[in-house]
C-alpha cells in the first residue's frame, strides 16, 4: 500500500481496555457535540462539502515531497480542514477520514478507532484551531497571520497528536514512557515541519485563487469560549504532561496502576472462578497442545467445506 505509513494510526492490540474506553468516551462526546453544532448551524448543505473534503484530505495524504535520504513530507490535514471549514465541521471531516481508513484500509484498528479519532480529529483540530486563531488575532487582520498561523498550526497539530499517541501507549503499558515520548515527539517535530510547509503552500494557493474560502472559514461558528478552553487545555496539558511523564516513567506507571489502566496488561483484578483449574487441562502446555489440535481441525474443516462448495458449484454449472 502506498498510503502514508505514519506511526499515528494505532492498530488494535496496542491500547489497554481502560485507556481505549476513556478515549472512546472523549471521542463520542466531541463528535456528538460537533454533529449537533453542524446540524444546527449549517445543516444538510454541509453534508456533500464535508464528505468531499474528507475524500480530498484522504487523497491529499498521498501527496508528498522528498526531504532527504528517502524520507518524505506528508499531509495529515487537520490544520487545513480547520482553517477551511471551522472546528466543528473539521472534527467531522477528520473523523470520517480516520474511520474510513480503519474500516476499509485497516490503517488503524477498529476497536481503538475511538482513540485514533480522539488523537487526529479532536486533538489535531482543537490544537490547530487555537493556534491558528491566536496567531490571526496577534497579526490583527494582516495577511501574514494566515500564513504564519497555518504553518504553526500544521506543525503543532502533528507534534501534539504524536505526544498524545505516545502518552496513550505509555499509559497502556505498551511502550515505556521514557522511550516512546521523546522518540515520537522528536520524529514528529520533524514530520510536523512537512505538514506545516504543505499547509502553508495550500493556503498560499487558496489565498491566490479563492481568498473568499479562507474568509468563510473564519466566519464559521466557532463555539465561543468552550473550544478555546478545551483546545488550550489539550495543547498545554499534553505539552507539559508528556515531558514530565518521560522524565518520570515510574510516576506515570503509578498513575496508570492506581486507575487500573494496566489491569489488562497485568493480571486481571478479578477472577471469575478463582483457584479453579479446568479439569483435564492441568497445565498450560497441555492446553496449548489441545488448542493447537482444535485450531488445526477448524482450519482443515473450513478448507474441506470450501472444496466441497466449489465442487458442488462446478457440478451444478
Amino acid at each position: 500500500m502506498f498510503l502514508t505509513p505514519q506511526p499515528m494510526h494505532i492498530p488494535d492490540g496496542f491500547l489497554s481496555i481502560m485507556v481505549d474506553l476513556l478515549l472512546w468516551i472523549a471521542a463520542i462526546i466531541a463528535v456528538g457535540y460537533s454533529l449537533k453544532r453542524v446540524g444546527q448551524d449549517i445543516g444538510e448543505r454541509q453534508v456533500p462539502l464535508m464528505g468531499v473534503l474528507a475524500a480530498a484530505i484522504f487523497a491529499g495524504q498521498m501527496l508528498n515531497f522528498t526531504v532527504a535520504g528517502g524520507t518524505s513530507g506528508h499531509l495529515m490535514g487537520a490544520a487545513i480542514a480547520t482553517i477551511l471549514v471551522g472546528p466543528w465541521a473539521a472534527i467531522l471531516v477528520m473523523t470520517s477520514v480516520v474511520a474510513v481508513q480503519a474500516l476499509i484500509f485497516q490503517d488503524g484498528g477498529l476497536l481503538v478507532l475511538g482513540a485514533n479519532i480522539f488523537n487526529m480529529a479532536v486533538v489535531g483540530v482543537a490544537v490547530s484551531f487555537v493556534t491558528y486563531h491566536a496567531i490571526r488575532k496577534l497579526a490583527g487582520g494582516r495577511n501574514w497571520g494566515i500564513f504564519v498561523g497555518g504553518f504553526i498550526a500544521g506543525w503543532l497539530s502533528v507534534e501534539i497528536t504524536a505526544l498524545a499517541v505516545a502518552l496513550e501507549l505509555a499509559l497502556s503499558g505498551t511502550s515505556p514512557a521514557n522511550i516512546a515520548i521523546p522518540a515520537m515527539g522528536g520524529i514528529h517535530a520533524l514530520i510536523g515541519i512537512g505538514e506545516g510547509l504543505i499547509t502553508l503552500g495550500a493556503l498560499a494557493f487558496l489565498y491566490a485563487s479563492r481568498p473568499d474560502l479562507i474568509k468563510q472559514g473564519e466566519e464559521r461558528p466557532n463555539g465561543g469560549a468552550a473550544i478555546w478552553i478545551v483546545g488550550i487545555l489539550i495543547a498545554i496539558g499534553l505539552a507539559f504532561v508528556a515531558p514530565w511523564a518521560s522524565s518520570h516513567p515510574d510516576g506515570l506507571e503509578r498513575v496508570a496502576e492506581q486507575y487500573g489502566f494496566l489491569e489488562t496488561a497485568q493480571a486481571p483484578t478479578y477472577s471469575i472462578l478463582p483457584d479453579y483449574i479446568f479439569p483435564g487441562i492441568s497445565n498450560e502446555a497441555a492446553a496449548t497442545v489441545l488448542a493447537g489440535v482444535i485450531g488445526i481441525l477448524l482450519v482443515f474443516g473450513a478448507a474441506a467445506g470450501v472444496a466441497y462448495a466449489r465442487r458442488k458449484r462446478q457440478i451444478s454449472s
Binding site: 484498528g109 488448542a291 482450519v299
Partner: protein, 268 residues
C-alpha cells in the same frame, strides 16, 4: 459502484460474502474485542482465535495469501512496543553488556511484546476479511443498524463515493509533477530546487486538490437537490436478518464469551 484499485472489496461466491452485513459487522467487532480482552501470554487462546480467523479467511475464498499479505500493514507499529522487552521488570532471560549499559531481556516484557504483536495481527486479519467481503454501502447500512448517527454515516457515504474520484485527481497531480520534473542526463544539478520549494509545490498541489474538491461538492449538492435530496441518503433497505444468521450470531458470541471466560480462568 465504481471499481477502483484501492477498493478492497473482492466479490467471491462464498458463505462469508453472502452473510448479512449487520451480523458480520457486529461479530467482527466482538471478535476484536475478545482478542483485546484476552490476558497476555494466554497462548492457547491466541491459537484458537488465530484458527478462527484463518478458518473464516478460507471460507471467504479470498485466499490466505491475500489476507496474510495485507495483514502486514500493522507491522511498522510493532516497533513502538519493542522497548518493553528491555524495560519491564521481571525474571531476566538474558543480559549482556553494551558499552556502559547492561541490556537485559525480561521474560515478562518478551511475553507482553509477543502478545501485543499477535493480538494486533489477529485483529487486523478480522478487519481485512470484513472489508474484503462486504461492499462499503452495505457496511454503511450496518452502521446505521447499530445506531451510528445519520449525519455521520451520510458523510462516510459521500466520502466513499468521491474517494476514488479525488484519489484519481491526486494521482494526476503527482503524474503531472513527475512529468514536469524531468532531469537531464548531462547536467548534474539536482532537480527540483530546495526542500522549501518542493514543499511549496506539494502544498500548491494539496491546495488545488482541496479547491477542486470544494467546487465539486457545490456541483454535487446542486445535483442532489435536483434529485430531491432532503438530508437523508436513501438506500434499498437490507432484507430482514434470516433465522440461521441470527443463530450464527448467537453461537458466535457464545463461543467468544466462553473463550474469554476460559482465558481468565486459566491465565488469570
Amino acid at each position: 459502484m465504481h471499481i477502483h484499485f484501492l477498493d478492497p472489496y473482492k466479490p467471491r461466491p462464498s458463505l462469508v460474502h453472502e452473510f448479512d452485513p449487520r451480523i458480520k459487522f457486529v461479530l467482527t467487532v466482538a471478535f476484536i474485542l475478545t482478542t483485546a480482552l484476552t490476558p497476555p501470554a494466554a497462548w492457547p487462546v491466541y491459537i484458537l482465535l488465530l484458527a478462527v480467523v484463518l478458518a473464516v479467511a478460507m471460507l471467504s475464498e479470498l485466499g490466505l495469501p491475500y489476507v496474510l499479505k495485507r495483514s502486514l500493514i500493522a507491522i511498522p507499529f510493532v516497533l513502538a512496543a519493542l522497548p518493553i522487552i528491555f524495560t519491564m521488570e521481571g525474571p531476566t532471560l538474558l543480559s549482556f553488556d553494551l558499552g556502559p549499559w547492561t541490556i537485559s531481556l525480561s521474560q515478562t516484557g518478551l511475553e507482553r511484546f509477543i502478545s501485543i504483536a499477535l493480538k494486533s495481527w489477529i485483529s487486523v486479519q478480522a478487519a481485512i476479511i470484513l472489508a474484503a467481503s462486504t461492499p462499503f454501502p452495505e457496511l454503511l447500512q450496518a452502521m446505521r443498524a447499530v445506531k451510528i448517527p445519520r449525519l455521520l454515516v451520510a458523510i462516510f457515504g459521500l466520502m466513499w463515493r468521491y474517494l476514488f474520484v479525488l484519489v484519481d485527481e491526486a494521482l494526476r497531480l503527482l503524474r503531472a509533477r513527475s512529468a514536469r520534473s524531468g532531469k537531464g542526463d548531462l547536467t548534474h544539478s539536482k532537480s527540483g530546487g530546495s526542500v522549501v520549494w518542493r514543499a511549496r509545490v506539494a502544498g500548491g498541489m494539496a491546495g488545488s486538490l482541496l479547491l477542486r474538491g470544494i467546487e465539486r461538492s457545490d456541483r454535487i449538492y446542486n445535483a442532489m437537490l435536483a434529485r430531491g435530496y432532503d438530508g437523508e441518503v436513501r438506500a434499498i433497505p437490507l432484507p430482514a436478518i434470516r433465522t440461521n444468521h441470527w443463530f450464527v450470531l448467537f453461537v458466535g458470541l457464545l463461543i467468544l464469551v466462553i473463550l474469554l471466560t476460559l482465558s481468565y480462568i486459566i491465565f488469570a
